[in-house]
């Protein structure tokens, strides 16, 4: 089915780009009747035709001559300010091997693709079937990014000062800096996009999203995000059910928990929640978070097997574009590339980034204490004078704190990005990990500092419950608004007239029109939102069992909202093949550990336990010791659980080992074949 879509779309698109203007290929296997436009390079309006011709020749040139071995199309004419880029079969296949992607072998098993063994892979003659759209576009971007000047040279048509390329300088980065290239972005395939949208957000497919189609169109990063969101939504059903049972104990039906809950409610009316329910919920959320993460790991590994990305060779790949260093020979691969010593990077991380991040965390705490002091001060002043002015003043500390936090957050985000760039990571994944870790630490502090302060220092459970509930409900409302209402308005009132106008334009303008959409900002904000909410659930849900219900509702609106946003409101993003959620998964695992401490502590504060201590005459000291013991035992249980549930399903493990064994065998026989 997808193959039909694919071929159809290629025909509709290519008919408008005059076939003759594409690069002529000499390699017999790369000749094809249709060329699929994959990536658009938007040049500046003032670009000289000679510069454009030079860039096109570079894109077309073979690798041996320092080119990218891609196909280029100059748009309407040589003076236009776009270049449309595609890739011939040979380049795509070689890049597939370099990336370490797995594809279907003739025996229907997935196998690491090898260019020299290409004829034994299925669909190898049809690139639209063999590689997904996201993979083809990523490969084109990758090839463009790895263009390097072979020797010191001038860029034709560019003034002297910015127009000199040093030997081995990255050409694309240089052209962006020199203002020649404005943008490089992958092209949407409108027909496939509409099909995907119909199967995805229009039908509100929350429980069974078309994940394979998402992976194929948008790439692995996006597909893993939505897979996780779907898995998480399913996983929220048990805690949501428990939360409902604990909060609204139905007469007749609900068993032990319910009865305990009812008894609890009678005992502790002002809590609105039974004490035993509190304990049930605390123990449940500790176990649930472990089982959830462990099973997600299994799901994640089977997805990465399904999508052929569990054997990526990222470590040996070219360094990421922003990486710089002294030119030298990579000791591992033997290639000439910039080198930067690892110890220097570690020094930068340890001696500069680490203290700076600590400083900002300190500033968050400072802000919080400032808020409390300010509030106390203003309260005192208001009680003394009681004027209108002092009544207005009462709001000032909160407002000041909000302004302070917002400024701090923005400054921090900029600082984190600059620091991570300065740390000069060689691999994109390492860069992402360090950047995300920095931002996450701050976000956690910013979001949870107040809650932790209430729970651990003030030890005020009712206040904690009120705060959590207001946070969740406010969040939910804001979310509903932004995720559902805004896209609806945009869709109905803003984009509709534009669409009509577009249909009259030339196809080339349609391609160019995609630039009008804002670039996709990445999944950063989405993941952070998920994490913070997961934090509310696993850390504090025992004081407010409806958390899971609210999160479930939130996810149900989040999925189609996110899907719509990604399909309609942004440019298509480039997406590297990935084998898991990367550092986000680690972040969830860390939260899982913090949740034990938090839940043990909240258990200790629970009125039931406190009362029990008073009645039994047990000293506060001893009960704390018991709590510590329980905490350590629970951490042990979590570790055992994590160890007992294998990270990969058996069938994935066997397939992975098969591939490893085969490659080992093949390696041994290699020289015999000469």
């Amino acid at each position: 089915m997808m193959s039909l879509e694919d071929k159809g779309s290629v025909q509709t698109q290519t008919k408008v780009l005059s076939q003759g203007c594409w690069t002529q290929v000499s390699c017999p296997c790369c000749v094809s009747k249709q060329v699929e436009p994959l990536v658009l390079i938007q040049l500046s309006d003032s670009v000289q035709p000679v510069t454009k011709r030079w860039l096109i020749s570079l894109i077309e040139a073979s690798k041996r001559h320092g080119g990218a071995a891609l196909l280029a199309h100059p748009g309407e004419d040589e003076c236009g300010n776009v270049i449309v880029v595609s890739a011939p079969r040979c380049t795509l296949l070689r890049a597939t091997e370099d990336l370490g992607l797995c594809k279907k072998y003739r025996n229907e098993e997935m196998a690491s693709f090898s260019y020299h063994d290409r004829d034994n892979f299925t669909n190898v003659d049809d690139m639209q079937e063999f590689l997904t759209l996201a993979e083809r576009q990523y490969i084109v971007k990758n090839e463009l990014d790895s263009l390097q000047a072979q020797k010191k040279q001038r860029i034709p048509g560019v003034p002297e000062a910015p127009g000199v390329l040093e030997a081995w300088e990255n050409i694309c980065q240089k052209l962006v800096r020199a203002g020649v290239i404005k943008d490089i972005f992958p092209l949407h395939d409108q027909q496939r996009l509409n099909d995907l949208g119909r199967r995805w957000y229009s039908k509100k497919q929350i429980w069974r999203q078309p994940l394979d189609a998402i992976q194929s169109y948008f790439g692995g990063t996006m597909a893993f995000y939505f897979s996780f969101l779907q898995f998480y939504t399913w996983a929220l059903i048990p805690p949501a059910f428990l939360g409902l049972v604990l909060t609204f104990p139905l007469p007749g039906g609900g068993g032990v928990v319910k009865e305990q809950a009812r008894k609890g409610v009678m005992e502790e009316e002002d809590y609105g929640l039974s004490v035993s329910g509190h304990m049930v919920q605390a123990v449940f959320s500790m176990l649930w978070s472990t089982v959830f993460i462990e099973f997600w790991k299994r799901r994640s590994s089977s997805l990465s097997h399904r999508w052929g990305t569990w054997h990526l060779t990222e470590r040996f790949a070219e360094p990421r574009p922003g990486f710089h260093g002294t030119l030298g020979i990579n000791p591992v691969t033997g290639r000439l590339e910039p080198l930067f010593p690892e110890w220097q990077r570690q020094l930068r991380v340890g001696l500069v980034s680490f203290p700076l991040v600590g400083l900002f965390l300190g500033l968050v705490v400072l802000g919080m204490t400032g808020l409390y002091h300010g509030e106390a001060l203003v309260q005192g002043f208001h009680q003394d004078s009681g004027s209108l002015f002092s009544g207005v003043l009462l709001y000032m500390p909160s407002i000041a704190h909000t302004v302070y936090t917002t400024i701090l957050k923005n400054v921090y985000h900029a600082v984190a990005m600059q620091l991570t760039k300065w740390e000069n990571h060689r691999e994109e994944s390492s860069f992402q990990n360090h950047h995300i870790t920095k931002v996450l630490l701050f976000t956690f502090f910013n979001n949870f500092a107040v809650l932790f302060h209430i729970a651990f220092y003030k030890q005020d459970l009712p206040l904690l419950r009120k705060r959590l509930a207001s946070l969740l409900i406010l969040n939910q409302l804001v979310n509903q608004c932004t995720e559902v209402v805004v896209p609806f308005i945009v869709d109905r009132f803003l984009s509709a007239p534009q669409k009509k106008k577009q249909e009259d334009d030339l196809e080339m303008d349609k391609l160019r029109a995609q630039r009008r959409l804002p670039p996709f900002p990445g999944l950063f904000a989405e993941y952070i939102e998920l994490l913070v909410k997961f934090g509310y659930l696993s850390l504090f849900s025992c004081v407010y069992p409806l958390t899971a219900v609210l999160l479930l509702l939130n996810n149900i609106t989040e999925i189609p909202g996110d899907a719509y946003k990604i399909c309609k409101l942004f440019r298509k993003p480039f997406s590297a093949p990935v084998s898991n959620m990367g550092v986000w998964q680690t972040a969830f695992e860390v939260l899982r550990f913090v949740s034990i401490m938090s839940n043990c502590w909240l258990l200790l504060l629970s009125p039931h336990v406190q009362e029990f201590c008073l009645e039994g005459g047990i000293s506060g000291k001893n009960i704390i010791l018991v709590a510590i013991l329980v905490e350590h035992v629970l951490i042990l249980v979590k570790m055992i659980l994590a160890f007992m549930i294998p990270d990969e399903p058996d069938w994935v493990r066997i397939k992975r080992e098969q591939i490893e064994f085969n490659s080992m065998q093949a390696l041994g026989k290699q020289v015999r074949m000469i």
Copy 2:
């Protein structure tokens, strides 16, 4: 130098085994003038010549014909009850590849050995240089162990009942069960052994043992043990120094610590140790244990690179001899072999082994409480009656407890072995891991239960100190006795006359005489001793800073003692190539975490802190909360430290990545070469 030794010893040994009786080889590369006897198969005295001939023919037969492709020598004549086994070059080289050993390539770098690329490896023509003695002997054992009956058949010369081999039955195991084979053991090379001994224990080389020679002669397991012991001894110097400074503060010289210590001594005379010293020691041992383990990991990985064992293919190897299951095709390797489903093994571990181990741990605790109750009972009785009889009775609980513990320990060891066998692990390493984990858990409980009880429940620091000191000193005395005195006596008075007698015998008898030595019991007991002592140091040393000094003394006598024992008192053991200490390393890492909890707790109990609380009017509850906070922060710091110190030195990482990159490249090019 080693090569000279090697050749010399081969000549001395082979001249006595008549050259003509060895298997004649047809393969031109395997023809050599001398054959080195590697392994001795001791048959029962009543073995029939027909059985012996059949076994020899099996050992000599090629792999295609279901043989082991080894060389056999019938001893003096066909009726003798020994078979001497050696290996031809081809078998050794193929096995080297199968094991995944790395050897020196012609460019002087280590590379995964490939049989088909053999000519590019250095020393490949001289097996005595190319493979170590331990590797050659292990390969012979491995080949013998993997002998399988090709079809159902009778063993010639063995009575009907035990003499029928089922298809694919393991032949060696069957022959051992049928009483045909009594023993299979590797032969000592007396000359090399004497050389090694001279360089090792005779010169008391504690700080710089001949590790390469040990690895070459005894194999990786032994070499890693002694490397660790040496590393550990070096690492004990700083804590020993600190312990001495804290215990005996010299006048003038010792700085802040000393002054604090002196002040402390004056304040707290009955403790014999200053309070601040206590804190210094606690913090120091937490940091020290982390840094120690992290740096050992680095050392270990560079050793495994040096010895070419960091790329072993154990996972794809043949199952271990004791493994049984229904015959089927291994989904990974495609070989016919017994299969046993993983989930069934996990069920056995989870539902039987786990509860049984728990039961025994419960019995240990029961014994301990029994001891305390008994002591209290007897004490009461003695105070009431005060007779001689009751005075004798006072010792009864201790004696009963010792007897109980000893019996329990022996029963448990047997149960642990049987359970692990019953769990039916496929790989030897997995078997070892499960067995060691079981024994370790029990040993920890047995050794530390009393100390933990005193520290955490009784909260009696002086008692803890007395107990620890007496344990250490007693242990030290017993150790001195067994490790130094016993070998000396054996050497001087018992083995000397035997030696003389042996020299008059035939060389064949000399080989056979090695069987008179007891088989080597493994390093189990040695490692456990090390671990328990490391536990004393990292868990409790802050109450008795001389621990490190005593351990240092202990190690200094331990190294030559162990070395002597291994060289002189036992048969040579088989030793599989290993890349690290395996599960023992994990055990040390676990202790490191427990040490944080224990040290935090002991800090809390320290008189200085208690006094500070009393003076400041801080409640016991709050100080405990602070301690928990400190504990969690310290765990975080440990994790960061462990993360910051890379597990491999940079040069090892680069070499490893080089090999991985090369094999990936080679794999890609493989088909092109056809």
